[in-house]
Subunit: 227 residues, 2 copies
């Protein structure tokens, strides 16, 4: 990375591109696969992995394959808890999922995407499949639309804060979402319910008040109604 270009450290970016090679559901990757996915030379990868391993960001398995390491989990938890939502959100999401019968998710905005920060799956066997840590576009789905629509703060009183979308991200799914505000009226995230379209679409209007109430309760707990 020439000084005339964007600042940074090329070796660090090579190491991070390695970490970015893992995908959902992959426990371990071989050296050859890492080379194929990153375009880096195997000797370069081995040197980078040595440092990542020393800091416990990757670990080498007995069969020679490489897995992500525990320090990423630790830092990921520090990130999540640094948002100061971990004490409040999991029980609130669990309650909402149990009472509504659908999956409850809390989305936060990260740049041009939304990140699934907390999740309580529906008690039902048929439900949408979504995992904490997943990053999705803002433009699709109720959660993303709420993060866009309410970025500037709380709407005027009397405005319906709940957004409903049918089949935007997946044709068979539906979702509702409402904004949650934190201190100073800043948007903290979007509280969403989601599930199969056939089951959720007929119930969407009926679920709006409960979702709006749950989001408002979270807003109050976060001090978002004081701004």
């Amino acid at each position: 990375m020439a000084a005339a270009e964007e600042p940074g450290v090329a070796a660090v970016e090579r190491a991070l591109s390695l970490l970015a090679a893992w995908r959902e559901g992959e426990a371990a990757l071989s050296l050859a696969e890492l080379a194929a996915r990153t375009g880096l030379y195997k000797s370069t990868i081995l040197r980078l992995l040595a440092s990542l391993e020393r800091f416990r960001c990757v670990q080498r398995r007995p069969d020679g394959q490489w897995a992500l390491g525990p320090m990423l989990f630790r830092w990921g938890m520090l990130y999540q808890r640094g948002l100061r939502l971990d004490a409040i959100l999991p029980p609130a999401l669990r309650r909402l999922a149990d009472e509504s019968g659908e999956s409850a998710t809390f989305w936060v905005r990260e740049g041009g995407q939304r990140l699934c920060l907390f999740r309580a799956d529906s008690p039902r066997a048929v439900r949408d499949h979504l995992l904490p840590g997943e990053l999705l576009p803002l433009e699709q789905g109720a959660g993303g639309r709420v993060l866009l629509a309410f970025a500037a703060g709380p709407p005027p009183p009397g405005t319906d804060p709940v957004v409903v979308t049918l089949g935007e991200r997946d044709p068979d799914m539906a979702a509702l979402a409402a904004p949650v505000f934190g201190g100073g009226g800043a948007l903290a995230g979007a509280l969403a319910l989601s599930g199969p379209r056939a089951r959720l679409a007929p119930l969407a209007e009926a679920l709006k008040p409960a979702l709006a109430a749950a989001a408002a309760a979270l807003t109050r707990r976060l001090g978002g109604d004081l701004g």
Copy 2:
């Protein structure tokens, strides 16, 4: 890092030492604080942060302070789910915590330490405080002792698999733990109950069968009884 020393990439290790600067409960750190904690020059830190920011491992706040970034959360979740325990453990821990009244934790061994991978807090207000992502020594506490004692695989039938410790890690706490085995009889982790010593110590013997049964049920679900 001279070639004669351990292999690796010094710039990468500097960047990782930056990420390691954050501690529990710290949402953001200033440049000066990062310099104080790592001993790196501020110009060096800024270059490293530029790369970390580009890969979304840190983010700069409007006030100029630096926070850990969402990609760490994503990779942390990939690490956790790569262990293939996420579908099974959270509900099992919740059940165990609700039935026993104490906090339930799943520990995995990472090198010479144990990592809190999943956690269900006790429903009671007075409980020990422990968070996913925390790393603790193996030599202290029931969870750690189990990871040491059963590293070689399942014990002979008839052996009591539950370890009880009183006040080892914290004088006011007590814990019980039992091993959980995965495919091929390999130790997957330790299932633990923990809480205030005054409350848990009198109940420890009575809780052993339930904990052993829960651990055995997890072992069966993971195929650990087939090896």
